[in-house]
Symmetry: C2
Subunit: 199 residues, 2 copies
C-alpha cells in the first residue's frame, strides 16, 4: 500500500519533469499530479532533493526494464557469447530511442535530471553514480564481445558510447534527429568501438 503510494508519486514526478523540467517540479504541482497531499510526499521523500533523487532511481529502474532484458532473442539465462553480447549491447543502446510515450518520457526526465545537476549540486552524487553504473554495464557487454581488451580501454569506449547516446538523445527529443538516423549513428559507433577494442 505504502509502496503503491510511493510509486504513484514517483510516476507523477517523472511526468511533471517530462512536461515542465526539473525546475517546474514544485511539491504542490506534484501533489496535484499524483493525487496525494504534499504532506505524504514529504513523509516518503523528506524534501524536494529527496524526491528528485528517488525519481532518478525510479526512472533508472524503469529504463532497465526496456533496455536491460535485451530483445528476448539473446536471452536464455547464462552468460551470452560474443555474438549475443554484441546484440545485447546494440539493443540496450538503441532501445533508448523508441517512439513510445514511456520511453520518451523517461528520456526527457533523465536528460533533465542530468542537465539540472549543473545547477543543483545536491543531485550530483546520485547522478554520477547512475552514470557510472550505466558505463560499467556497457563496458561489461563490450568486454564479453572483446574479452582480450583492457579494462581502461573498455571503460573509455563505454564512456564514449554512453556520452554519444546522451548527446544524440537531446537532438532526437527536440525533433532535430530522426529515430532511424539516430539508430544508424549509434550502430556505427558500436562497430567503431568494437573494431578499436580488437586492435
Amino acid at each position: 500500500m505504502a509502496t503503491d503510494r510511493r510509486r504513484t508519486i514517483l510516476e507523477g514526478a517523472a511526468r511533471v519533469i517530462a512536461r515542465h523540467g526539473v525546475r517546474g517540479l514544485r511539491m504542490e504541482t506534484l501533489a496535484t499530479e499524483a493525487g496525494v497531499s504534499t504532506a505524504l510526499i514529504y513523509y516518503h521523500f523528506k524534501d524536494r532533493a529527496g524526491t528528485l533523487r528517488h525519481t532518478l532511481e525510479f526512472i533508472s529502474d524503469r529504463a532497465d526494464r526496456y533496455t536491460g532484458d535485451g530483445g528476448g532473442e539473446g536471452g536464455g539465462g547464462s552468460t551470452p557469447g560474443p555474438h549475443d553480447a554484441r546484440q545485447e549491447l546494440e539493443q540496450s543502446l538503441l532501445l533508448e530511442f523508441q517512439e513510445l510515450p514511456e520511453v520518451r518520457e523517461n528520456s526527457i526526465t533523465w536528460g533533465e535530471l542530468r542537465a539540472s545537476a549543473i545547477f543543483e549540486p545536491e543531485l550530483r552524487g546520485d547522478l554520477a553514480r547512475a552514470t557510472l553504473t550505466r558505463i560499467h554495464d556497457v563496458a561489461d557487454l563490450l568486454g564479453r564481445v572483446r574479452p582480450t581488451a583492457t579494462a581502461p580501454a573498455l571503460t573509455a569506449s563505454a564512456e564514449r558510447l554512453t556520452g554519444l547516446l546522451e548527446g544524440l538523445s537531446t537532438r532526437w527529443l527536440s525533433g532535430a534527429l530522426p529515430l532511424s538516423h539516430a539508430h544508424a549513428l549509434v550502430r556505427e559507433a558500436v562497430a567503431l568501438e568494437i573494431e578499436h577494442l580488437s586492435r
Copy 2:
C-alpha cells in the same frame, strides 16, 4: 551605441541562463542583470522567444571566437593541409572544454538552450540550424583530413563527434568528468573516426 546596448543585453542573458537556466530567464531578471529597462529589451528583441534566439546566435558567435581560430599554430590564411586540418579539428573540439569562466558560461548556456528546445518548440528551428552549422564545420575539417571520404560518411562522423561533445559537456559541467579525461576521450574519438574514414 544601439549595438553596445544589444550586446550588453545578450551578455546579460547568457549570464542569467548560465546561472538559472532558460526557464529562469524572465524579462525583469534580465533587465536588472543588464541594467536596462524591460522596454528596451522588447524594443531590440520583440519578445522572450526573440531574446532566446538572439542569445543562441550570440553564444554561437562567441564560441567561434575561442574554437574557430585554432590555436594560432595551424593558421596562415590559406586552406590547411591534412595535418593542419586534423590539428585544427582537435583544437576546435577540445577548446569547448576549458576551465575559463567565459567558456564554462557559454557551454552551460548552450546546453541549456539545447535541452530547452524539447520544451520550447519555437527555439527548435534556430537550434537545429546552429547544430547543422557546427556539424558542417566539423565535416569540412574531416574532409580536409580525409579528402577521399564520401560526404555522407563525413557528415555521419561529424554528427557523432559533435553529439559526443554535447553528451560529455554535461558530464564535465556537473563535475562528473575531469577536464583532462574529457580531452582524452575526445582525442581518441577523433582518431577512431579518421581511421574509419580512411577505410
